[in-house]
């Protein structure tokens, strides 16, 4: 996954540090190790989420303190005292979280109930409001109970608590297949090794357990790749199929995953009758996860007219006629009222967008009134940065894993353009992206953070990349911005009538300006995008209409000052520096990208590595169990004798002969002397010679190189005579 290595591990380590390694391979050590795995499996998703929205330090601290307290209490307090403590921790945490929720949310009891239900139906925890507090409040209970019970050797309890906590995240869809599998292995291992500990696990039993765990992994993995199954062995590798922009962006879904290459569909989606030409917006997203977008909060039913933007606005009336199946409700920003016919089946997202309760069918139609903010550049210049607190906290969050160089680059651009206001900064970033990156639908999705990847490692991309990167860069400068999806204005087919196709789907950026509201910025170069779209539509359509798209890239009539539009020309001091930096970095990237010979497979992720370890452990244990390792070793050992010193050589030759004899006749018994053994078994002359020479070498200290040579030669003969090719 996308988080940096090492930081998520502390949950699993306490039971291994400070003990000699041998203790880890005792049933007790293995059981605690499994418990660590289980703890990891249900704290890791929260850690990842926290990492997305902020700093995970506090969370890790809470986990560590909880583990320490559980360890301490396990030594002094009995289970019947500690269990209520754990439950109380959980309830207290949930109560704290509930009471910290905004009053309006808390007031709607039915909605909370619905939300809890939808959490169990696959609603990601990522969409909870105040997720950080939730994580801090939720974690201590299960972690405490699981670890405490494990230390008290109540492993079944551990597995139940940990399993329940893990199941919660499985239901919310926040746990990947691999982590879930790891958690399951942890639970099985905890109980299994716990049993072994109680009933005296011999090495063989521990080995069997290891084999069982490996089989669990292998079977689980195989089920997904056998013919008739679906997917790839490891659920992480993604489905590589080509998606459409539309498919990836437009649906009433609450998250957007960013794809690799995509294609465009020329199918007509809807037509709009509107007094103004604008972008038809279907949704916005506020939480950036590093590899996609999530909308927090849940949608509410439409309850009459909604608030207009804070500043000056004009009303735009639109009538939308749906031409093909559409699970979205395109409308200009900001919708304030919907027509009577659809009022009951419309819901309003937490970000003020519209969503249909059911998808529209061809022929459906609805009207919507939008209140478009009107703001001239000068008005935006004066807007300042006195943001409402809620807006600022919600729309300037970035994953803590966002590389610092994104912020550095944003500041460079800001400085390079001499941008002093938020508006100028936004324009500078927008024009930087339009200028520096090429438009292309055929891209490979970068590893790690999308914005960072697009900014530093990719030369081309499409609207999703542009918009994501711009939002990220603005947020690094503490400017509230969000990721918006929808359709561009489409093909003008008559007075105030626009035909919108699948290929018009688009993603752009909205930036918040105090006392103005959300203002649209579109960092995607308009020309190449329309070219790409026109190619798909074909020449017979009157493409000219599309070409002279009256809409500028930003919502306000685009009359940018030369200073904003051509930042590089006016700032000679800073520009060369910027350019130089760019050049260097690009060169480095390019060589690295292009210079590769064979494409190396990606190194496995942490979870994959853990699973591979489990499998390898199982294979080794199985081989040991079957005596395979020993057997293979012996096959080589008995035939191949390296020489090191006469005495050692004689001894080794003797042991080889004894090994061969042991299999053919019987092993020499413990108290049996070589002479007694020799008299008891069927010994030929070579054997006798080895024994005679060995006796003199070992008990008379009478050994020379030639004696050693003779002994080894005789031993070789014995081995050759008495063993088959693989014996």
């Amino acid at each position: 996954m996308s988080t940096d290595a090492g930081t998520a591990a502390p949950e699993a380590t306490p039971n291994t540090t400070g003990r000699p390694w041998s203790a880890v391979f005792e049933p007790r050590g293995l059981a605690l190790l499994s418990t660590g795995l289980l703890l990891f499996s249900f704290t890791f998703p929260l850690y990842e989420i926290i990492d997305v929205v902020g700093d995970p330090g506090t969370f890790l601290l809470v986990v560590a303190v909880t583990l320490a307290v559980a360890t301490g209490l396990s030594r002094v307090v009995g289970a019947w005292t500690a269990l209520p403590v754990g439950l109380a921790l959980l309830l207290l945490g949930l109560w704290t979280y509930a009471s910290a929720l905004p009053a309006d949310v808390f007031a709607q009891q039915d909605r909370i109930f619905g939300d809890v239900l939808s959490l169990f139906m696959g609603l990601s925890v990522l969409r909870l409001q105040m997720i950080e507090l939730f994580a801090l409040a939720y974690t201590p209970g299960p972690v405490f109970l699981a670890w405490y019970l494990a230390l008290r050797r109540r492993y079944v309890g551990t597995a139940l608590v940990g399993g329940a906590a893990l199941t919660f995240f499985v239901l919310t869809g926040d746990v990947g297949t691999l982590v879930a599998l790891l958690g399951a292995l942890g639970a099985v291992g905890t109980v299994g090794f716990g049993r072994l500990e109680r009933f005296g696990g011999a090495d063989r039993a521990v080995e069997t357990m290891a084999v069982v765990l490996a089989v669990i992994v292998v079977v689980t993995m195989l089920v997904s790749v056998v013919p008739g199954g679906t997917g790839t062995p490891f659920g992480l590798f993604g489905d590589g199929g080509t998606e459409t922009i539309e498919g990836s962006l437009i649906s009433s879904d609450e998250r957007v995953a960013i794809q690799g290459s995509i294609s465009l569909s020329s199918e007509v989606r809807f037509t709009v009758e509107s007094s103004r030409e604008t972008y038809w917006r279907t949704g916005a997203y506020d939480r950036y996860t590093g590899d996609g977008w999530v909308r927090t909060g849940s949608a509410l039913g439409y309850r009459g007219e909604m608030a207009s933007p804070p500043g000056e606005a004009r009303i735009v009336e639109q009538t939308v006629t749906v031409e093909s199946e559409l699970d979205a409700m395109p409308a200009a920003w900001k919708p304030v009222r919907v027509g009577e016919g659809v009022a009951d089946s419309t819901s309003v997202t937490s970000l003020g967008g519209l969503q249909p309760a059911q998808p529209f069918s061809p022929g459906d139609s609805y009207t919507v009134s939008s209140s478009q903010p009107v703001a001239s550049p000068s008005r935006l210049q004066r807007a300042g940065n006195d943001y409402p607190r809620q807006i600022e906290s919600r729309y300037t969050n970035l994953p803590s894993s966002t590389p610092d160089r994104v912020a550095t680059r944003a500041r460079q651009i800001q400085d390079g353009a001499n941008a002093e206001t938020v508006y100028e900064t936004a324009r500078a970033v927008e024009s930087y992206l339009e200028r520096e990156k090429e438009y292309s639908l055929d891209v490979e999705r970068p590893e790690g953070d999308i914005a960072d990847g697009f900014l530093f490692e990719m030369d081309r991309g499409y609207c999703t990349y542009y918009a994501t990167t711009m939002v990220t860069m603005l947020r690094t400068q503490n400017i509230p911005a969000r990721f918006v999806v929808g359709y561009t204005s489409g093909e003008r087919v008559g007075d105030d009538e626009y035909r919108v196709r699948g290929l018009d789907s688009h993603a752009w950026v909205e930036v918040y300006f105090p006392s103005v509201g959300w203002v649209r910025f579109d960092p995607t170069p308009a020309g190449p995008r329309q070219d790409a779209e026109r190619e798909r539509v074909g020449g017979d359509e009157n493409g000219g209409n599309v070409n002279d798209d009256p809409e500028p890239t930003t919502e306000p009539p685009s009359t940018p000052s030369p200073a904003t539009n051509e930042p590089t020309a006016n700032t000679p001091d800073s520009t060369p520096e910027t350019v130089q930096t760019l050049g260097e970095e690009d060169a480095v990237r390019t060589t690295r990208d292009d210079g590769g010979g064979l494409p190396l497979p990606d190194p496995p992720s942490r979870e994959e590595a853990a699973l591979i370890l489990v499998v390898v452990g199982g294979v080794v244990a199985g081989a040991r169990r079957l005596g395979l390792t020993e057997r293979v070793y012996r096959v080589i050992w008995v035939r191949w004798q390296p020489r090191d010193g006469p005495a050692a050589d004689v001894q080794r030759a003797f042991e080889r002969v004894e090994y061969v004899l042991a299999r053919e006749e019987r092993p020499r018994r413990d108290g049996e002397t070589p002479r007694e053994y020799l008299a008891a078994v069927d010994a030929d002359e070579s054997v006798e010679q080895v024994y005679r020479l060995h006796e003199r070498a070992r008990y008379a200290g009478d050994v020379t190189v030639s004696v050693a040579d003779d002994t080894v030669a005789a031993a070789n003969e014995v081995v050759r005579e008495r063993t088959g090719p693989f014996g």
């Binding site: 413990d670 002479r675 005679r692 070992r698």
Partner: protein
């Protein structure tokens, strides 16, 4: 006990060892003229003599303990004394006394019967501990102290003591610490019927011991003892002996002392010499262990005797 040298492995040895082996075999043959059967016990006594040890023969009366000891003594040309231990025997009856010489007006030391190359202590457990200890000091220290003067024992000096296992109520059991000073404790047992018939045939007429003549000189014996002491004992053998002793210490309340380990090693050397071999093999150790270890072991419960523990040790301790 089986002879260790039964395998086909040929022997190489130097002359001194060969001579020691020949001497032992000669004496054994000589003793065999008087004693019927008991080959193993004879060999045991001889290895004890070669290994500078003393022997305790324990059995019921009348199985030939004294006759065996006398035969061995008679096979060497050294001095031989016999002491019959009785409850009223005094220490000075063994060690000797200072007697006032009226001619010289000085005390002359009259050596007791202990001053001989071979001393037969008959029924040693009938004498009180104080008297026993006089003999034991001579055995351990190779010297005797009388009235503050110390007298060296002759070399070689070997004690063969016998002890009765019947009539326990009128005996003084030898304490563990004193038993430890006997290198070996042997049981003779009854002869089998064939041997006994032959035995009866021999005693008709003159008793054969009357015709027994020495077959070895003291000089031969001293040389043989020196040769035995130089027989090679490699590290694997020393480790094996140590493991055996450790095993008894683990299994019993009182196991074999380091003195016991030393005795075992010496006896094993002598056993090797008996076979004419100039190095010790594990078989030598195994041949000796059951004569040397059991009387040094005290078990807590009656259901396991020292013999059983030693048999276990022989069977389970790995030979490497």
């Amino acid at each position: 006990m089986t002879d260790a040298d039964t395998s086909t492995i040929e022997q190489e040895s130097d002359d001194a060892v060969e001579a020691a082996g020949a001497l032992a075999r000669r004496v054994a043959e000589n003793v065999g003229e008087v004693i019927v059967g008991h080959q193993a016990e004879i060999e045991h006594i001889l290895t004890a003599v070669l290994g500078r040890g003393h022997v305790l023969l324990e059995d019921v009366p009348g199985v030939g303990k004294t006759m065996l000891a006398r035969s061995i003594a008679a096979s060497f040309d050294g001095s031989f004394n016999r002491v019959q231990f009785t409850p009223d025997l005094l220490p000075s009856d063994i060690t000797g006394v200072n007697v006032y010489n009226q001619k010289t007006s000085e005390f002359d030391f009259r050596p007791g019967p202990v001053f001989a190359n071979v001393v037969l202590g008959d029924e040693i457990n009938r004498a009180p501990p104080k008297t026993q200890s006089a003999l034991l000091e001579a055995m351990e220290e190779q010297q005797v102290t009388v009235d503050g003067d110390t007298y060296e024992m002759p070399d070689p000096f070997t004690v063969i003591a016998t002890q009765n296992t019947v009539e326990r109520d009128r005996t003084y059991e030898l304490p563990m610490a004193e038993l430890d000073r006997f290198m070996k404790k042997l049981h003779l047992g009854y002869p089998d019927s064939g041997d006994e018939a032959e035995l009866l045939g021999r005693v008709v007429g003159n008793h054969p011991i009357e015709q027994l003549s020495p077959v070895a000189t003291l000089e031969d014996l001293r040389a043989a003892r020196t040769a035995v002491g130089e027989i090679t004992v490699e590290e694997p053998i020393r480790a094996y002996v140590t493991r055996l002793s450790e095993y008894t210490r683990e299994q019993a309340q009182l196991g074999v002392s380091p003195r016991g380990s030393i005795a075992l090693l010496r006896a094993a050397q002598a056993r090797a010499a008996l076979a004419g071999r100039d190095y010790v093999v594990p078989d030598d150790v195994q041949a000796e262990v059951s004569a040397i270890m059991p009387h040094r072991i005290r078990t807590t419960t009656a259901d396991r005797t020292g013999e059983e523990i030693v048999t276990e040790a022989r069977r389970t301790v790995t030979v490497e």
